[in-house]
């Protein structure tokens, strides 16, 4: 297999998108796909313009971004923090392992009734749902990263006067587990956007809520506009996080 250069990758990926949307448009126009079921890509542009002119699009993005950012922050910090402590402190790890196994399989959607009860139909409730789904990804990623730190590095730290808990934490665990922690944060960025829809399912305004409204009116073109909006927002957050990642892990380059 011939290796694909970076430039060729970008070109090929754009080509793939063109083929995808072109085929889709052709399928709708030739009647291969019934237009009632699937909107033609060409109808998305006017649908998007309508949403922008009405101000719905901008408002939905702002609303969703605020749940997303807060939920991501809370879920990532708590997940990585507790995962880090469990990875470092065997007693805590053992104490929490039963609780973790009990709560881990509960899907984010199952928390919606409690989110409504505890926080109400508001931003805090939506933030809670996003935080929970992001929490587990970061918990497990950080836990695994800390557990796989080379034990010989602890001995190195002890031999040079950094054998205390803070010494091990700051001189060994945090830098050594950084690649795994960053991978967890990055996965959480995507998972956060996926759970935005669940978080807004029950009526908290945002992209998810707007999608639900449109789908109840069978306005499939508007639904697709927001699907693509979410993909775009994910791409932007992932792109921006790439700079953080490269900065933190520059020793891996």
């Amino acid at each position: 297999m011939a290796a694909v250069s970076r430039r060729q990758r970008v070109v090929l990926s754009c080509l793939g998108l063109v083929v995808f949307f072109g085929g889709w448009e052709a399928a709708v126009r030739t009647g291969l796909l019934p237009s009632g079921m699937v909107p033609a890509p060409s109808s998305l542009w006017p649908a998007w313009l309508d949403e922008v002119h009405g101000g719905f699009w901008q408002q939905a993005i702002l609303d969703s971004l605020s749940h997303y950012a807060l939920g991501l922050l809370a879920g990532s910090l708590l997940g990585a923090g507790i995962g880090l402590l469990c990875g470092m402190v065997p007693v805590l790890d053992a104490f929490l392992s039963g609780i973790v196994h009990l709560l881990r399989p509960v899907p984010g959607l199952a928390w919606v009734p409690f989110a409504i009860l505890w926080f109400g139909l508001n931003m805090a409730g939506a933030t809670f749902i996003i935080a929970i789904s992001v929490f587990w990804i970061n918990f497990y990623a950080t836990y695994a990263a800390v557990r796989s730190v080379d034990p010989e590095l602890y001995e190195l730290a002890a031999a040079f006067g950094h054998g205390s808990f803070p010494g091990r934490l700051f001189k060994v665990v945090l830098p050594a587990s950084a690649p795994g922690v960053m991978a967890g944060l990055r996965t959480g960025l995507g998972q956060g956007w996926m759970s935005v829809v669940a978080a807004e399912l029950f009526g908290v305004p945002g992209i998810g809520a707007r999608m639900m409204q449109a789908s109840s009116l069978l306005a499939t073109d508007v639904v697709v506009v927001y699907m693509l909006t979410m993909a775009l927002l994910y791409a932007v957050t992932d792109f921006l996080f790439g700079f953080v990642r490269i900065r933190v892990l520059r020793w891996q380059a």
């Binding site: 590095l153 006067g161 950094h162």
Partner: protein, 271 residues
């Protein structure tokens, strides 16, 4: 046991992993005097590295007493920041550099927590790198270094804390013969410059003879100190008759055979 000036001392030390049913080593007594270069020689797997860690305080012995230079740092007065140091430092067989730190930051690792400012740390780390001839690699990442260079960084990291006792755990064992020989020469030069007390673990008889002023042999099951040689400069000339006689005697000690004799300063440890 000799006078109070001894730098570190093991007395009747034993280590067991199963509560005393069997011992890795037992009845080991060893005293290190300031300025000595002691080689701890023995076959692989006999417990030399473990004994070294017991002496450092990184492992607890099952029996016996250990009196080493303490684990603590030795800040000597508020104004004398250039003299802040640690009592002991270790060089590992696998270099054990932290991949996320540059060469300079790796060398400065032991200096952190001694109350030095950034500039002092940097200057001392650079001085140690200069001593091992790697000053120009200060800003590189460890993975860009060769095996010999990584080991030099490990030596610099240990030297920069200005330890009273320098412990080396088969530091050149994983290197190719050419690199090993040149690092041995460098270590001798550094030792002659600094006159640190060195405890050097090795399974290589020629290496022990080339470097040490005293060789102690650890062998047997459970392992014990089975012999000891003191060396003068003229006996360290490779391929000299004295060197060959000493090598033969060390082989006999490792194998637990009777001493073939032929040179002074020999005593068999009573076990």
């Amino acid at each position: 046991m000799s006078g109070a000036e001894a730098l570190a001392r093991l007395e009747d030390v034993g280590l067991s992993h199963d509560g005393g049913k069997s011992f890795v080593f037992r009845h080991v007594s060893l005293t290190l005097q300031p300025g000595e270069f002691v080689a701890l020689l023995g076959p692989s797997g006999v417990g030399k590295s473990t004994l070294l860690r017991v002496l450092m305080g990184l492992s607890k012995p099952s029996e016996g007493d250990v009196a080493g230079p303490s684990q603590e740092s030795m800040p000597q007065g508020a104004g004398a920041s250039a003299h802040r140091r640690r009592a002991q430092a270790l060089v590992f067989q696998d270099a054990r550099l932290m991949p996320w730190r540059s060469v300079l930051q790796n060398v400065a690792f032991g200096l952190e927590g001694l109350g030095l400012n950034r500039q002092d740390r940097r200057e001392r780390a650079l001085a140690a790198l200069r001593l091992v001839g790697l000053e120009e690699a200060a800003d590189r990442w460890p993975k860009r270094l060769s095996g010999g260079q990584r080991q030099r960084v490990g030596v610099a990291r240990a030297l920069t804390v200005d330890p009273d006792l320098l412990l080396m755990d088969e530091p050149f064992g994983a290197l190719d013969p050419i690199t090993r020989s040149s690092l041995q020469d460098e270590l001798l030069r550094i030792w002659q410059q600094t006159r640190k007390t060195v405890l050097f673990v090795t399974h290589d008889i020629d290496e022990a003879l080339k470097l040490a002023t005293r060789i102690v042999v650890l062998s047997g099951t459970p392992a014990g100190l089975s012999g000891e040689l003191r060396l003068e400069a003229e006996q360290k000339e490779p391929d000299s008759p004295a060197f060959r006689i000493y090598a033969a005697r060390l082989r006999a000690m490792i194998a637990g055979e009777p001493d073939p004799g032929g040179a002074p300063y020999w005593r068999s440890a009573e076990i």
